[in-house]
C-alpha cells in the first residue's frame, strides 16, 4: 500500500512536469501548426535566470525566471516565427530547431557548456512522513503547482474572452480569423502562456535537481512533443493527459522493469508510444468532434 502511494505520487510528479511541457508545446501547435522544439530552450533560459538570481532571494529568482522565459518566448515569436506564419509546417519545424540551437549556443557562449549546480529551494528536497510513506516535498509541490497552474489556465481559457479566442484559434485558426480574432494577439498570448509554463517547469526542475545545462530542455521538449501526439495533436486537454500518461508510464516502468532492463526504459516508453499510435493514430484523448476537418 505504501509502495503504491509512493508510486502514485512519483508518477503524478513526473507526469506534472511532462504535462506542463506538453501544454506549452500543444498551445503553439494548435494555433500555428508549429511543433516548437525551442520550447525546451524556454525552459533552459528560465532555469539559468533562476540560477543566476537564486542567491539574492528565491521568490525574486522565481519572478526573474518567469519574466525571462516569457520575454524569450515573445521575442522568438516576433523575430523568428511571425514572418513564417503561413509557411508549411516543415519550414516552421526547421526554424524551431534553428531557434533551439541558437539559444543553446548563446547560453554556451554566456555561461559555458558545463552543467552548473545551484542551491535553489533545496529545503523542498526534504521528505515528509505521511502514514509511513516518505514523500519528498518537491514532489508534492510539483503536483500542487501544476494543479494550480492548470486550474488558472482552464479558468483563463474558459471564462475570459481572450481565452475563448485562444481556444477557438487552437481549434480552427482560419475560422477564428474570419470571425475577427486578431492573429497577432492570439499568437502572442499563446507564446506568453507557453513561456509561463516553461518557466514553471524550469523552477520546479531546478528545485528538484539543482542543476542547469544548455541542453537541459531537450529531453523535456521531446517528451512534451510525444505527450501532445499521444494526447491528440491540437487538443489542449489531450496534451495534459498525454503528459500525465507518459510520466506515469515512465515511473511505472522504472519501478516494474527488471533491473537489467531499466537502462532501456525509454525504449519501452517509446515502443508503447508507437503501439498506441498504431491503434489510435489520432491520439488517446482526442474527441470525435475535435477530429473534424480543418478549413
Amino acid at each position: 500500500m505504501t509502495a503504491a502511494l509512493q508510486l502514485v505520487v512519483d508518477a503524478l510528479s513526473v507526469g506534472s512536469l511532462y504535462a506542463l511541457s506538453a501544454l506549452g508545446i500543444g498551445l503553439i501547435f494548435g494555433i500555428m501548426r508549429l511543433i516548437n522544439f525551442a520550447h525546451g530552450e524556454f525552459i533552459m533560459v528560465g532555469a539559468y535566470a533562476a540560477m543566476l538570481t537564486a542567491a539574492i532571494w528565491a521568490p525574486f529568482a522565481v519572478i526573474v525566471a518567469v519574466a525571462v522565459a516569457l520575454v524569450v518566448a515573445l521575442v522568438t515569436e516576433r523575430l523568428a516565427f511571425r514572418r513564417l506564419r503561413s509557411s508549411p509546417p516543415a519550414t516552421l519545424l526547421i526554424t524551431s530547431f534553428a531557434v533551439s540551437y541558437l539559444l543553446q549556443n548563446l547560453m554556451v557562449l554566456i555561461e559555458g557548456a558545463r552543467p552548473q549546480t545551484v542551491d535553489f529551494l533545496s529545503a523542498l528536497t526534504r521528505s515528509m512522513d505521511v502514514g509511513g510513506v516518505r514523500l519528498p516535498w518537491i514532489n508534492v509541490v510539483t503536483i500542487a503547482v501544476t494543479a494550480v497552474l492548470l486550474t488558472l489556465l482552464a479558468i483563463f481559457l474558459r471564462r475570459t474572452r481572450f481565452g475563448r479566442m485562444t481556444r477557438a484559434a487552437a481549434s480552427d485558426f482560419r475560422m477564428a480569423r474570419l470571425l475577427g480574432v486578431r492573429a497577432d494577439r492570439v499568437i502572442a498570448i499563446a507564446f506568453a502562456l507557453s513561456g509561463l509554463l516553461a518557466a514553471a517547469v524550469a523552477i520546479l526542475l531546478l528545485a528538484q535537481t539543482g542543476t542547469v545545462s544548455p541542453v537541459m530542455g531537450l529531453q523535456l521538449a521531446l517528451v512534451g512533443f510525444v505527450a501532445t501526439v499521444i494526447g491528440g495533436m491540437g487538443s489542449l486537454s489531450g496534451a495534459v493527459l498525454g503528459g500525465l500518461t507518459v510520466g506515469a508510464v515512465t515511473v511505472l516502468l522504472q519501478s516494474l522493469l527488471p533491473a537489467e532492463l531499466r537502462p532501456f526504459r525509454d525504449a519501452f516508453v517509446y515502443g508503447l508510444v508507437i503501439a498506441v499510435l498504431l491503434v489510435r493514430p489520432g491520439g488517446l484523448f482526442r474527441s470525435a468532434a475535435a477530429m473534424q476537418e480543418r478549413v
Binding site: 474572452r161 481549434s171 477564428a176 474570419l178 470571425l179 486578431r182 474527441s287 476537418e293 478549413v295
Partner: protein
C-alpha cells in the same frame, strides 16, 4: 458596397478565378451558382481575405480590402459563413456565438444581441450550453449563421448553406435566410449549387463557370443542373 475588378486567385499554376468583375449594391442580394470546382469558394475566401488575390482589386465601401488580413476584413463589416460550417466543435453553442462578436468591444450591446439571437433561434437557446459538435447539420448551419450575425455585418457571405443538409432542413435554413433579409435588409452574397434555392431571394444570380463569371441567369428556368456540369447547352 462591394466591387471586384479583374479578380484572380491562383493555386500554383491553376487559376481558380479569372478576371472576375462583380458589384453588389448596398442592401442587394447577389447569388452565385456553379458546379463543384467552378471557383465559388475561392471567390468567397478571396473577398474575406482567406485566399490571396493574385491580380485585380476588391473594394468594400470605397476602400481596397484585397491584401488585408481576414480579421481586418471581418472588422470592416464582412462576415463569411464558409462552406462546411466550421463550428468550434469542442466549444459550447454560447461560446461559438460569443466568438462571432470577436470584432466588437461593446459588451453591453453584444449581450443584447446574444439575447435577441437566442430568441430568434430557439433551438440554439435550447442547446446554449451544449457542445456545438453535438448539434445536427441543420442546427450547426443555424449556429454559424447566428454566429456571423453576432458581428453585426454589413455584408454577409454565405457559402453553400444547403451543403450536406436534408431537403426539409435546407428549406428551413433558406426560410431563415429570407427572414433575416426581410428583417435587417442585410446585403448578401450567397453561393449555391442549386439556383432554384435563390429564386425570390437574390436580386440577381450569376453563373460562375471554370473560374469566370458567365453572365446572369434566370433562376425560374429549368435545366440548370446539367448546364453546370457542361453536359449540355446552358439555357438562354
Amino acid at each position: 458596397m462591394l466591387r471586384l475588378e479583374g479578380v484572380e486567385v491562383r493555386y500554383g499554376q491553376v487559376r481558380a478565378l479569372r478576371g472576375v468583375d462583380l458589384a453588389i449594391a448596398d442592401g442587394g442580394v447577389v447569388g452565385i451558382v456553379g458546379a463543384n470546382g467552378a471557383g465559388k469558394s475561392s471567390l468567397t475566401l478571396a473577398i474575406a481575405g482567406a485566399e490571396p488575390v493574385a491580380a485585380g482589386s476588391i473594394t468594400f465601401e470605397g476602400r481596397r480590402i484585397d491584401g488585408l488580413a481576414p480579421e481586418t476584413i471581418a472588422r470592416q463589416g464582412i462576415s463569411l459563413v464558409p462552406e462546411g460550417r466550421h463550428v468550434f466543435a469542442d466549444m459550447t453553442v454560447f461560446e461559438n456565438l460569443d466568438l462571432g462578436a470577436s470584432s466588437r468591444s461593446d459588451r453591453g450591446e453584444i449581450a443584447r444581441d446574444m439575447t435577441r439571437l437566442l430568441e430568434r433561434f430557439p433551438i440554439l437557446a435550447e442547446r446554449r450550453d451544449g457542445l456545438a459538435g453535438k448539434l445536427s447539420g441543420g442546427e450547426q448551419q443555424q449556429l454559424v449563421i447566428a454566429r456571423a450575425l453576432m458581428a453585426r455585418p454589413r455584408l454577409l457571405i454565405l457559402d453553400e448553406p444547403s451543403l450536406g443538409l436534408a431537403p426539409t432542413m435546407i428549406d428551413r435554413v433558406y426560410d431563415l435566410i429570407a427572414e433575416i433579409r426581410r428583417e435587417r435588409g442585410l446585403t448578401m452574397l450567397i453561393v449555391e449549387q442549386n439556383p432554384e434555392r435563390l429564386h425570390g431571394l437574390a436580386d440577381r444570380v450569376l453563373l460562375l463557370h471554370t473560374g469566370e463569371l458567365a453572365g446572369e441567369i434566370d433562376t425560374r428556368k429549368e435545366g440548370w443542373d446539367s448546364a453546370y456540369f457542361g453536359l449540355e447547352e446552358m439555357p438562354a
